[in-house]
């Protein structure tokens, strides 16, 4: 029984982080209709920012959120404005040009990070990095729990933003029907720029929260990009509720897969769920919940 509950806890805590990664991606996919294959690399950049601030200025990793999120917001803005938006005007054979562009961006970000920080593994060690508390014999990692709580708060904030503010409503409008939104007087190019910024900012928070328990090197982005699009497809495009459930489901599936099938199947479980959802539940969880 201990095995079961410990697996459950591990899955839920990891799922919280995954949800945060998926949220940014789902916003981008909903509004832009493209897959951002540089998503994990955005996260990597944020982790390097946190590392630098921690290492050179002695800032606590969690306080660096104040800096890493806006920085990535800006990076997202710049990339969307100067690299992705211009593509809408470029005549080309493949509509997937924007996706291919994000591949190029991912490569550039990774290699620039390698130039500056080399391929060495870096990590941020704090006093609470490897502490844990116990509830009924089940261990809860302190930093993962903090990350989980912060992830919940950020998600809540995003919700309020999308529902209560004008900008948030505009984003939702573009996500639902960009043509109609434009007729209503919304500048969809501008909304896309802002959405990319918010998406990058969200994944930045995931990176910063992950760093104290994990480690960092330039190639870290790739696997998280994969997880991000799995979560998004699982949850349904543009669905914030879906992304949260998608993240939790992926976290739980990985944990239970690792415990009851084998740790080598951890990644495979996620990929297979992804294919199954794509084929048998197109639209993801959103189709079930209609949110």
């Amino acid at each position: 029984m201990e095995v079961f509950f410990q697996t459950l806890v591990a899955g839920v805590l990891k799922g919280g982080l995954y949800a945060l990664i998926g949220l940014g991606m789902t916003l981008i996919m909903g509004v832009m209709g493209i897959i951002n294959l540089a998503h994990g690399q955005f996260m990597m950049v944020a982790m390097y920012i946190t590392y630098t601030l921690f290492h050179f200025f002695g800032l606590d990793p969690y306080t660096t959120l104040i800096i890493s999120m806006p920085s990535l917001f800006l990076l997202g803005l710049v990339i969307q404005k100067f690299l992705l938006n211009p593509l809408m005007k470029v005549e080309s054979i493949l509509p997937e040009n924007q996706v291919l562009m994000t591949v190029g961006i991912a490569m550039v970000l990774t290699e620039v990070a390698r130039f500056i920080f080399t391929s060495n593994y870096l990590s941020v060690r704090t006093s609470y990095s490897s502490s844990a508390f116990y509830v009924g014999g089940i261990s809860f990692s302190v930093p993962l729990s903090i990350a989980f709580i912060l992830a919940c708060l950020l998600t809540l904030g995003l919700f309020l933003f999308l529902i209560k503010t004008d900008l948030g409503r505009s984003i939702r409008a573009v996500s639902q029907d960009s043509g109609a939104a434009e007729l209503m007087g919304i500048d969809s190019a501008k909304i896309k720029v802002i959405t990319m910024g918010i998406g990058a900012g969200l994944v930045a928070s995931a990176g910063t929260l992950l760093l104290p328990i994990y480690y960092l090197f330039p190639d870290i982005g790739g696997p998280f990009t994969t997880k991000a699009f799995i979560i998004t497809i699982l949850g349904g495009l543009g669905s914030t509720v879906g992304a949260i459930f998608g993240g939790l489901i992926l976290g739980l599936a990985e944990s239970f897969g690792a415990t009851y099938i084998g740790m080598d199947f951890e990644d495979l479980v996620g990929l297979i769920i992804f294919l199954l959802v794509l084929l048998f539940l197109p639209g993801g969880i959103r189709r079930l919940t209609k949110v």
Binding site: V90, G104, L268
Partner: protein
């Protein structure tokens, strides 16, 4: 085929190339170029001509490579049987995959192929009793000389270009392009889109699969990370396609040459030129420049992609008139 002359001349030159350039180093680079021509052509057929972007070329490449390797390690046959069989088995994989996943469109199909790529890599890693996992499989090379491999690679490259050229001139090609342009319109015109997308994918998988089998024969060692590599195979195939020219017959040829050349130039510091300058002039900063250039090879790929997509969305071949205008404008004005 307005000028079969040019093509025949090029073919003739490629045929006598190993007789003229006898250095194994350049022959090896040419073999790599020819392999990428075949892979790029395969990618281009399904993605460039039919519009279904393939993000998992390595799935078929690796499948072909493992077919050849397993024939040799498990059945004791020559790995050369992997060439036909690797192609056929890749088609056998492409068939159910396409059948199931072609209901997906655009980026979803691309993601599904990416997932297939990753699934294959994991399975090949985990299934140790069959594939020996990451320990990899060794196949003894048949020839010491490079020439036989060169000619096999050349044959595959020529076949892939000719096949795609023929296909694209036939009715099939017309259907492929109409699916790319507007799938719903194609469907309403009575084209069985699933059937033609399958056809396109199977031809692609075949070409990529036999190239994978050739890779096993030529390199003599494979492991899942090498042949199912998302980065070094699948994305490289896309780069070859988009740099050369999406939806052009000769795009992959040019793209393959550019990509292999770029990789090698950066890796070796301009073929040792930078080192040579550094040594003969004694400038101390030359060695750091050499290191910088060496480190930049993946970066250069990334920048190349961004530039090509922004400014040459149809690749070097597709946008050749644009490139030409940029360089010979002054001459034209003079005339």
């Amino acid at each position: 085929m307005k000028r079969p002359f040019g093509q025949l001349f090029l073919l003739f030159l490629l045929l006598i190339l190993p007789l003229v350039i006898r250095e194994a180093y350049y022959q090896h680079l040419m073999i790599l170029v020819l392999m990428w021509v075949a892979i790029g052509s395969g990618w281009n057929l399904i993605s460039g001509f039919t519009g279904q972007v393939l993000f998992g070329a390595a799935a078929f490449f690796g499948f072909g490579a493992y077919t050849a390797a397993l024939l040799s390690s498990k059945l004791g046959l020559s790995a050369w049987w992997g060439l036909p069989l690797g192609g056929i088995l890749s088609v056998a994989i492409a068939f159910p995959f396409g059948w199931i996943c072609f209901r997906l469109r655009g980026p979803y199909f691309a993601l599904a192929t990416l997932a297939l790529n990753e699934i294959f890599r994991h399975v090949a890693t985990i299934w140790e009793s069959l594939t020996d996992g990451m320990i990899g499989i060794l196949v003894m090379q048949t020839f010491v000389s490079k020439a036989p491999y060169y000619y096999v690679a050349l044959a595959i490259a020529v076949v892939s270009i000719v096949v795609i050229d023929r296909v694209m001139q036939s009715r099939w090609g017309y259907y492929f392009v109409s699916i790319r342009e507007d799938q719903d319109a194609a469907e309403s015109m009575g084209i069985n889109t699933l059937y033609y997308k399958m056809l396109s994918l199977c031809i692609s998988a075949f070409l990529i699969g036999i190239t994978g089998a050739l890779y096993t024969n030529y390199m003599g060692f494979i492991d899942p990370k090498v042949v199912f590599s998302l980065h070094d195979i699948s994305i490289m195939a896309i780069l070859v396609g988009i740099v050369g020219g999406v939806g052009t017959i000769y795009g992959p040829l040019v793209g393959a040459f550019i990509m292999v050349a770029v990789q090698e130039i950066f890796r070796s510091g301009g073929f040792g030129l930078l080192n040579f300058i550094g040594r003969s002039t004694g400038w101390p900063f030359m060695s750091s420049i050499t290191k910088f250039v060496g480190d930049a090879h993946v970066l250069s790929f990334g920048i190349l992609v961004i530039i090509v997509i922004l400014f040459l969305p149809n690749g070097v071949v597709g946008d050749w008139p644009v490139i030409r205008k940029m360089f010979v404008r002054s001459k034209d004005q003079a005339v």
